[in-house]
């Protein structure tokens, strides 16, 4: 099975905090010492002192209007697509081409110079539920949880030496394959949103990992949370691992733009009478989708 950090946290009952932290350390130390893997850690804080009036100009592509935002709002905006920014930084440092950058579900992607430069010569693959399906994305998720958990234990400026101290764990981790990179003030022009427009599935369809398994529940609140605790969810994830698929809970208001619209077949698992109706409707409209039964 493949686990995200949250799944692991749920497994600990007694003495949760100590054991969970200890698990994160154990996993991270082992993985970071693998000599066949390179790791690059990124950190971003915007230094207000180096910005005029403490504001950042965003948008303005194609001569459109710009607006000024404070650092907090700016950080919130770029946090929605920080994965893209990290991938672009790798591309910028190494001039790499034809690389595959796998990310776990981006939900607020704005156009930016970073995105434009990245996709010009590389491939982005957005995996929904990727941290429960793909061991590489699971590893990224656990590592970043480990780093964040230990950084927040005491106040200290966010910088390279502080991050290195956490990662090296008193010299128990070999730092030869670990790199730490700052992304911030000098990169503002590339990382800021260039248009006042949040990209939707029409814009990013080519970058989504297929096939997608859509799970149709009903309209009751809290169903997703209940479903994720059931044995059938584990079956679903195993099936997704086998198909190297993405998984999404079907929301007609969002996913209608996505389901069955691609050359590769999508799958639908109806888990309620209402979901059955949606499936029949989607099928009748000619979408490239098939029902999937969980064994």
């Amino acid at each position: 099975m493949v686990y995200k950090s949250y799944d692991i946290a749920k497994l600990f009952k007694k003495d949760f905090e100590r054991k969970y932290k200890s698990f994160l350390i154990g996993f991270s130390r082992n993985v970071l010492n693998l000599d066949s893997v390179k790791f690059t850690f990124f950190f971003t804080e915007i230094n207000v002192k180096h910005i005029e009036d403490g504001k950042i100009n965003i948008f303005g592509k194609y001569g459109g209007p710009t607006i000024e935002v404070g650092v907090e709002k700016f950080m919130n905006l770029i946090s929605g697509y920080y994965e893209v920014i990290c991938a672009w930084k790798i591309h910028q440092i190494t001039s790499i081409r034809n690389a595959i950058f796998m990310v776990d579900g981006i939900d607020a992607l704005y156009p930016s110079k970073a995105w434009d430069e990245l996709i010009r010569s590389n491939h982005v693959k957005i995996h929904y539920k990727g941290d429960q399906i793909n061991p590489l994305l699971s590893t990224s998720d656990i590592l970043i949880k480990f780093l964040e958990q230990f950084l927040k234990e005491r106040y200290s400026p966010l910088n390279e030496s502080r991050i290195e101290k956490v990662l090296s764990y008193d010299g128990k981790v070999n730092m030869d394959n670990i790199f730490i990179k700052y992304i911030g003030n000098p990169d503002l022009d590339h990382i800021k949103p260039s248009e006042n427009y949040r990209m939707d599935f029409n814009d990013i369809q080519d970058y989504i990992q297929r096939p997608i398994i859509f799970v149709g529940l009903g309209d009751l609140k809290g169903q997703k949370q209940i479903f994720e605790e059931l044995p059938v969810y584990e079956k679903l994830l195993k099936t997704a691992i086998g198909l190297n698929a993405s998984v999404r809970f079907f929301d007609p208001s969002i996913d209608a733009k996505l389901i069955g619209k691609y050359k590769e077949l999508d799958y639908f698992i109806p888990m309620s009478p209402r979901a059955e109706e949606y499936y029949e409707l989607i099928k009748r409209t000619g979408c490239n989708v098939e029902r999937l039964e969980l064994e």
């Binding site: 099975m1 200890s22 950190f43 770029i78 994965e83 690389a99 776990d104 061991p135 950084l151 200290s156």
Partner: protein, 76 residues
């Protein structure tokens, strides 16, 4: 040039797997507070990690082994 960039370049840039270098990325918001005489100062930072294996099959074997050993150790 920082030490990290030098090492990045010296070590041969990145691992390449089947002609396509492969990277997996995840990120997290990082909040911290500092309290001084002027009050509470809140900071938000962003953290990211990019994992770049030389061989995906070998990596998955290592992943399974690490997870299984830890699950055994913690009786999970």
């Amino acid at each position: 040039m920082s030490d990290s960039i030098e090492k990045f370049m010296i070590n041969g840039k990145v691992h390449v797997y089947m002609d396509n270098p492969l990277f997996a990325i995840d990120t997290k918001r990082h909040f911290r507070e500092r309290i001084d005489d002027e009050g509470v100062h809140k900071f938000m930072g962003l953290l990211g990690v990019c994992v770049n294996p030389i061989d995906i099959d070998k990596f998955e074997t290592s992943y399974d082994s690490i997870i299984n050993d830890l699950f055994t150790q913690y009786n999970l």
